[in-house]
Each structure stands twice: as structure tokens, then as C-alpha cells.
């Protein structure tokens, strides 16, 4: 009938909770759609067969045993940073200072390697590095937390500013410790003695970070979901008034949580300097302090989901380098593809929460 035609084509309806397998299905569909769109765009803009592009993305990440190990190691590092940021975000404390906390942890580790190498046995140096980097990261987390707790300063600004301080400190010490003089970089530290180089786990130089990442993932999952402190974090994040009402000391929780957050970031700095690069530069964190924010949010602060999110991001990143060399495409091209995929993944959350209800055809015929 006439009036039915004026009913909107569709309207948006909130879903009641979706069973997990349906939600998963929607997400998989989103990734498939994203890949199809990427393929279409690739063919149109470059004329290259998209299947080939996908093949070399995969080869970039898992093409050889070494590549696979590096991919896993990179995943571990990104995962660790995301995990470190998560308790803060769950508390609604916007810690975007992961970058600085990692850097300062790395700097502390490097300082121990450089200054203590001839003063004590290697094992002791490593112990000092562990303590120093964790403490340094924790301090970098503590400072913004303290100001927030005491005077309610904006943590977004202060954590961000702490990043710059960390970067400048590293730049300063690069000049102090540069080898050789005038080169503007520190170079590999203790290349001959290997003092302060973190030991290899089970004979593989990649495994250590991976093991640490697995342990921290499990720890964080249990900590957030089953510990009293994790519960306090959730209550403070949801409502400070409720927290005060039941006698939770909000200031204490903020400071404690940021100490933890910073400490884990410091640990990542240790792994990067002592275990992987054996040197420190201002770009050693590589922006992952910010990528970690994305991973943490995308996973809705669930440590187990973060494994997949960081996998996806590292996978695309590794593949990106591969296609840029194989096809002479710019590295930015892979960023475009990553962007499309992320857009679909984040966008599909809408369809998990809401349903589009289309005009009912059957009803129309009835009338």
C-alpha cells in the first residue's frame, strides 16, 4: 500500500547479546571482505595479480624459518607492550606513554651494559639490567600517575610529554657513549665480550621474548580477571565514586597500576636492548607504544584476544616489506592495505552490536 513505501529502507536495531560463534563469523566475514577489496584495489591501481601480492605477504611473514622466528619475536614485543598498557586503559587512565617507558627501560639496560661491563661478572650485570630497566619503566609510569592522583592532571598530556623526555635522554646519551666518536650512534655494545647480552633460551636467540610474552599474557589474563587488584582496577575504571563508596583508595590504585604498566614496558626495553638489538637508539621502540594502544583497544582489553590482534598487525607489516621489494611498490602501499583491513575489523563491531532491519517484504505483499 501507499504508506508502506514511505517506511525507511532499513532502520538500526540494537541486538541482544550475540552468541560468540556468530560474532566470530561476522569478524571473519569482515576480514574476507577486506581482502577482496584490497585485491580489487591492487588490480586497479597496479595491475598486479592480487593473489601474487597475498602470496608474497605470506612469504614475507613465514617464507623461511628465520622469517617465521622474526615474525614471532616481533609479535611478542608488540603483544608485551599492549599487555603493559592494558591495565591502565582498563582503569580509564589513558597511558599513551608506552613509547617513552620502553625507551627509558632500554636506556637503563644499555647504561648497565656500558658502565658495569668491567666491574662485575656477566650474570650480575644482567641482574642489574633487569632491575634497572624495570625500575626505570616504573618510574616513567609513576610520575604521570602521581600527578594524576594528587592533582588530577591530564594523564594524556603528561604521559605523552614523558615520551619526549625519554627520547631526548636517549639522544643525549647516544652522544655521551657514541662509538666511534663522531658516528652519532652507540653501535653494538660489548660485541666482543657479549657482557649483558641476554642468554639464549633453548639455543634460539628468538625464543626468550616469546617465552616472556607467553608468561606475561597468562599473568595479565589472570591478574585482570581473577585478582582483587584487577577487580579494583575495573571498579575504578568504571566509576571512581563507586570505588570510593566501597573504600577503595583510588589514588593508590592509580599509582600501583601505572607502576605495573610502566614496569612491563621497561621489561620490553630490556628485551629490545639486551636480547635483540644490543644497542639503543631513539627509534628502538618504533612507534609500538602507540600501536599497542590500538591492539589493546581492538581486543577490548582481553589479553588472549591481543595475541591475534598483534599477530595481524605484525603479519601485515612483515608482508609489507616483502611486497615493497618484490613488486617495487612503496612500503606505504602495504600501509594502505593494513588500513583497509583495520577499517573492516573495527567497522564490523557495529554489526555485532546492531542489526539492520530491512523493510519487510512479506508484510508488504500481505497488505
Amino acid at each position: 500500500m501507499n504508506e508502506k513505501k514511505r517506511e525507511p529502507l532499513f532502520h538500526i536495531v540494537k541486538r541482544s547479546a550475540l552468541p560468540w560463534y556468530q560474532a566470530l563469523l561476522i569478524r571473519i566475514a569482515a576480514i574476507v571482505l577486506a581482502l577482496i577489496l584490497c585485491a580489487v584495489i591492487t588490480t586497479i591501481t597496479t595491475g598486479i595479480n592480487p593473489i601474487q601480492v597475498y602470496e608474497s605477504i605470506f612469504a614475507g611473514a613465514f617464507g623461511s624459518a628465520r622469517k617465521t622466528w622474526v615474525t614471532l619475536q616481533n609479535i611478542s614485543i608488540l603483544l608485551l607492550i599492549s599487555l603493559a598498557l592494558t591495565p591502565a586503559f582498563k582503569m580509564k587512565f589513558w597511558n599513551i606513554g608506552g613509547e617513552g617507558q620502553v625507551l627509558i627501560g632500554g636506556l637503563a639496560a644499555a647504561a648497565c651494559m656500558i658502565c658495569l661491563d668491567d666491574k662485575m661478572p656477566g650474570g650480575l650485570v644482567i641482574l642489574c639490567m633487569v632491575l634497572a630497566s624495570i625500575a626505570a619503566g616504573a618510574v616513567w609510569g609513576f610520575i604521570p600517575a602521581f600527578f594524576k592522583a594528587k592533582w588530577n592532571t591530564n594523564e594524556t598530556l603528561s604521559t605523552l610529554m614523558m615520551n619526549y623526555i625519554a627520547t631526548q635522554l636517549v639522544a643525549f646519551f647516544t652522544i655521551v657513549w657514541e662509538v666511534p666518536k663522531g658516528s652519532g650512534k652507540i653501535g653494538i655494545i660489548n660485541q666482543d665480550t657479549n657482557i649483558g647480552w641476554l642468554p639464549q633460551a633453548f639455543g634460539s636467540k628468538y625464543l626468550l621474548s616469546i617465552i616472556v610474552a607467553v608468561l606475561v599474557t597468562l599473568f595479565m589474563y589472570v591478574y585482570l580477571n581473577f585478582s582483587k587488584q584487577g577487580y579494583e582496577i575495573a571498579v575504578v575504571g568504571e566509576s571512581e565514586n563507586t570505588a570510593k563508596y566501597v573504600g577503595i583508595k583510588v589514588e593508590k590504585v592509580i599509582i600501583r597500576t601505572m607502576l605495573l604498566s610502566g614496569a612491563i614496558c621497561g621489561l620490553v626495553g630490556l628485551l629490545l636492548v639486551g636480547g635483540i638489538n644490543h644497542t639503543v637508539t631513539t627509534t628502538i621502540a618504533g612507534g609500538q607504544g602507540f600501536t599497542g594502544v590500538l591492539v589493546s583497544w581492538m581486543s577490548k582489553f582481553n589479553p588472549l584476544t591481543m595475541v591475534f590482534s598483534s599477530f595481524l598487525i605484525i603479519f601485515m607489516d612483515r608482508g609489507a616489506s616483502e611486497i615493497s621489494t618484490n613488486f617495487g611498490l612503496n612500503h606505504s602501499y602495504a600501509d594502505i592495505l593494513t588500513g583497509i583491513i583495520l577499517f573492516f575489523i573495527i567497522g564490523c563491531e557495529f554489526f555485532i552490536t546492531y542489526r539492520l532491519q530491512f523493510r519487510k517484504k512479506a508484510e508488504k505483499e500481505e497488505q
Binding site: 540494537k14 571498579v235 566509576s239 570510593k244 563508596y245 566501597v246
Partner: protein, 510 residues
């Protein structure tokens, strides 16, 4: 009635949310020049129905006729075009803008604040609103903000007005003022729908009532032909008794002694001045007063949440020893062995965590128990199940976030948790605000049960009739001072009302 035209006619409206049927084939007519009260328990679908009229939801089935013509309302914009305006329970205003700016926000055409202000003033003069068009929203009281919302829909040409629980946040005086303008608007030929739980408001204001129950339309009648009992029975679906019990106190002994309590807020404004009183065990001490007269500060001070300037708050143990509560936070108070329960005004913002499920909310009070670093969810889960069962909480399950529950059920969860710890002192602030009549009586019963167990109850209320029926003593606050403490059995609304508006109003009266 035949002489009036139906401004709105809703026919066979159905709306479902997932498995929940919010409205089931509802028929409703709204007439011009009439105030219609829409009645129903919490969750009976009143707000949903009105949201469909104002374009926020779209009905799954059914038709809407405006002035006899079938219309499709796809958005609030469509609704406004048809002259339908809704004033929501939660205001939708921008704090940093002025009244005028808020009112013309989003309207097409040239921005002309001067002309708009003039038109706003015209509207205000016509109906007797008091609003300064230049005043910023953050400077306004709740009632002023509401006025801006009403003027906003009038400015946009609405002649069908829907108000969702407009009096829930108003003082009796402000309510009277609101009713005055609503009557004026009715006489001007506008159609007005008001959703409310307060029966005496229904009786004094509306011309007609329509009742919904479980999403279904039950019926409508002229207000003058019905009474509170009949309306309540229609809402609930079976006969209910509307008497508040007042058992005599058993062996009352002083439990909380407050002496010379003075409180300033963060801005240095005096909120409580030299307040002294004693709350006895086994008694209900009602606290009356215009809202914002220090009730919140008083309860929060006793609960250990408020910084005090001077004075003492002592907890008197069974054996007569006294414990000073000032300077202790809620955790310390609990550790001292003082079992103090507090049902705050802001249920989801203070008493509960909206995004957590029932179990985790039950755990709020008890999660610290034991030395293990891990939480134990076993007993909270049991408690959640018990509360759901004994207080008849309507919820899909104990893993549902509490914000999804309706107001009455949220309050049952909160009160259920607070009385589960076998308190010796129970503080409640506006315990029945926003609750339907049936839930309200459940809460009164629960409070009375605590009283019989020997709990000292401090009950901050806004409905004088209820305070007079429920309390043993009534403390009246006026501007942060104790204006009088009266025996609830030997006083009347008039005396308490006088005390509310003027310190020591009684002497003045004599």
C-alpha cells in the same frame, strides 16, 4: 470528549527488542487541550511507546495517525515537523552554551541570536516560564534546565508535548510551577502527555489516564472518575494494599550520635551548619527538606565519604562504648566492626557499577575478604541468586550487566546487597526515586523489616506523605540547618512543610 479532536492516534503498535516485547499491539489516543498521564510499572513500555512517537525508535508494526492522517515518523526531525516534542528524563543540553544557543541549535536558517532571544521571551511570557535566554546551562539549576528543554520544543513549534518523569528531579515548589505552565499550555490547546509514578500528581494534574502493563494497553479513563487504588490495581494487574506499615520501635537505644556537624564543600560553601541529632536502633529517622539542603552531605559524612569541618559523629555500640566515625573511610569503618550500609542517591554512579554483572556488583562490599590475592566469586554468586529470588528481581540472569535492568530492579539489587551484610545502621537516600508504586512498597517493606531487626534507619525522602507514614521521627533540614525534629506520629504535612521552608518555622507559625 467527542468535541475534542484526536491529535495523535497510535494503532496496534508493536515493538520488540530481541526477545523482549516492549509494546504489544498498543492503541493510544492523545487529544488536544488535554493532559494525559501515561501510567505503568517500570519496564511496562511507556517510554518505548513515547520514543516511537518522537522518532527515536521505529515501530515493528502498527500505524500512527497525526490529526487523522497516517504518518511515518523516521526520526526526531520528522516528529518535530509533525509538532511532536519530547522532554527526556536526561536532559540533552550543551553546558557551555546559553539557553538561546541551545534552543536554536541545529535549526536551519541564519543564525540570529537576538531575534531568537526575543521569540524565546515571547514564549516564556505567554506561558509564564522564568528563563534568562542569555544564561549558560552550567549556571542553571535542574529545574531551569528542564524549563529550557520545554521551551526548546515549544520554540520548534511543538503542539504535542511528551514529558518523561518531569518531576523526578524537582522540589515540590518547582513541581507546582511546572504544573502551572502545563495547565496554561493545555488551555492553549496543546496536547500533553506526562509519564509519572507519583499518584498524587496524576490526580492533581491530568485530565485522563492511560495504563500500560507488560507492554500491553490496559485502558484509559477520566481522572475524575477514578482513584489511586483503581489505577494501581490496573497497573499491577491484581489488587494491592497501599498502606505503609509502621511497627512500634522495639527497645530503641542510641546508635548514631551526631553533634555540631559542620561541612563545607570544595568551593567553601557551607552545606551543613551545626547539625546535631541521635538516631536510635529499631527506629526510622526520616530526613525531610527541599533537595540540596545538605541531605547528601549528611549521609556521606556518616558513611565516611565526606570531609567535615567540625563536629562529631559517634557510633554507639551495644555495650554503650562510642566509636568516632569522622576521619575514617568506608573501609576503616567496616574494619572497626561497624556494619554500616548505605543506599546512595546515585545508584549506578555510586552504589553499583553499571557495566558489571550482578555477581561482580555483589562482590563490591566483600571482595577484600580473605588473604588470597584472588577474588572469590562463589559467595557473591550465591548472594546474587538469593537476592534475585527473594526480592523478585526481573533479570535475564545473574551475568547480566546491572545497567540493563530497569530502575526498580537496579534498586532491589542495591538494597539487597546492602541489607545482606546484616547492618546495624542503614542509610538510604531517595530510595524510591523513579520507582513505580509496586517496587516502592517492596522497598518500604524491606526497610521496615530492617527496623524490626533493630537496625537504626536513616531515610532521606522527598515524598512528605511517605515520610509521615513510614518514619518514627522526622528531622527537617533547611539550608543545611536542623529546622526541627518532630515526632512523625503527631505531626502533619503542614508543620513539616513550614519547617522545610524556614528554620524553626513552627514558632513562627504559632
Amino acid at each position: 470528549m467527542e468535541t475534542k479532536t484526536a491529535a495523535v492516534s497510535m494503532k496496534n503498535i508493536t515493538k520488540t527488542f530481541g526477545p523482549v516485547i516492549a509494546n504489544d499491539k498498543v492503541n493510544l489516543d492523545i487529544y488536544k487541550g488535554e493532559i494525559l498521564s501515561l501510567l505503568g510499572e517500570n519496564g511496562s513500555g511507556k517510554t518505548t511507546l513515547m520514543n516511537m512517537l518522537s522518532g527515536i525508535y521505529f515501530p515493528d508494526e502498527g500505524q500512527i495517525f497525526i490529526n487523522g492522517k497516517e504518518e511515518v515518523i523516521k526520526s526526531p526531525k520528522d516528529a518535530l515537523k509533525l509538532g511532536i516534542g519530547m522532554v527526556h528524563q536526561h536532559f540533552k543540553l550543551i553546558d557551555v552554551l546559553s539557553a538561546t544557543e541551545n534552543i536554536i541549535l541545529g535549526l536551519p536558517g541564519k543564525l540570529n541570536i537576538k531575534e531568537a532571544s526575543k521569540r524565546i521571551e515571547d514564549i516564556c511570557n505567554k506561558y509564564g516560564f522564568e528563563v534568562d535566554p542569555r544564561q549558560k546551562i552550567y549556571d542553571m539549576s535542574v529545574s531551569q534546565k528542564q524549563t529550557v528543554e520545554i521551551v526548546k520544543v515549544l520554540y520548534r513549534g511543538a503542539d504535542i508535548l511528551i514529558l518523561d518523569e518531569p518531576t523526578a528531579v524537582l522540589t515540590p515548589q518547582e513541581t507546582e510551577k511546572l504544573f502551572h505552565v502545563l495547565r496554561k499550555m493545555r488551555d492553549d490547546g496543546k496536547a500533553i502527555v506526562i509519564i509519572t509514578h507519583k499518584m498524587h500528581e496524576v490526580e492533581s494534574l491530568s485530565d485522563r489516564v492511560a495504563v500500560l502493563r507488560n507492554g500491553q494497553y490496559i485502558g484509559s479513563m477520566m481522572t475524575k472518575d477514578t482513584n489511586v487504588t483503581e489505577m494501581t490495581n490496573m497497573m499491577v494487574g491484581h489488587a494491592v494494599t497501599l498502606n505503609i506499615e509502621r511497627p512500634d520501635p522495639v527497645d530503641p537505644k542510641p546508635r548514631i550520635e551526631v553533634e555540631g556537624l559542620t561541612i563545607r564543600n570544595e568551593d567553601g560553601i557551607l552545606k551543613l551548619k551545626d547539625v546535631s541529632f541521635t538516631a536510635n536502633s529499631g527506629e526510622i529517622l526520616g530526613i525531610a527538606g527541599i533537595s540540596g539542603c545538605g541531605q547528601k552531605e549528611l549521609l556521606e559524612a556518616i558513611a565516611g565519604l565526606q570531609v567535615t569541618e567540625s563536629g562529631r559523629i559517634s557510633y554507639v555500640e551495644e555495650d554503650g562504648t562510642k566509636e568516632e566515625l569522622i576521619g575514617m573511610d568506608p573501609r576503616k569503618i567496616a574494619e572497626k566492626g561497624v556494619s554500616l550500609s548505605f543506599v546512595p542517591e546515585d545508584r549506578l554512579g555510586m552504589g553499583l557499577v553499571g557495566n558489571m554483572d550482578l555477581t561482580d556488583n555483589m562482590m563490591l562490599r566483600s571482595f577484600r575478604r580473605g588473604h588470597s590475592p584472588f577474588t572469590n566469586r562463589k559467595s557473591p554468586r550465591k548472594l546474587a541468586e538469593d537476592v534475585v529470588e527473594s526480592l523478585e528481581v526481573v533479570t535475564p540472569g545473574i551475568t547480566t550487566p546491572v545497567r540493563r535492568l530497569s530502575g526498580g530492579n537496579v534498586q532491589k539489587v542495591l538494597v539487597g546487597r546492602e541489607i545482606a551484610s546484616a547492618p546495624t545502621v542503614l542509610l538510604t537516600a531517595y530510595a524510591v526515586r523513579g520507582l513505580d508504586i509496586n517496587s516502592s512498597y517492596t522497598i518500604y517493606d524491606l526497610i521496615n523489616e530492617q527496623k524490626k531487626k533493630g537496625v537504626a534507619v536513616i531515610f532521606v525522602g522527598e515524598d512528605l506523605d511517605v515520610l509521615l507514614e513510614l518514619s518514627d521521627k522526622i528531622l527537617v533540614l533547611c539550608g543545611g540547618e536542623v529546622s526541627g525534629i518532630v515526632d512523625a506520629r503527631n505531626t502533619d504535612k503542614n508543620e513539616v512543610g513550614m519547617l522545610m521552608t524556614r528554620v524553626g518555622g513552627k514558632e513562627d507559625h504559632e
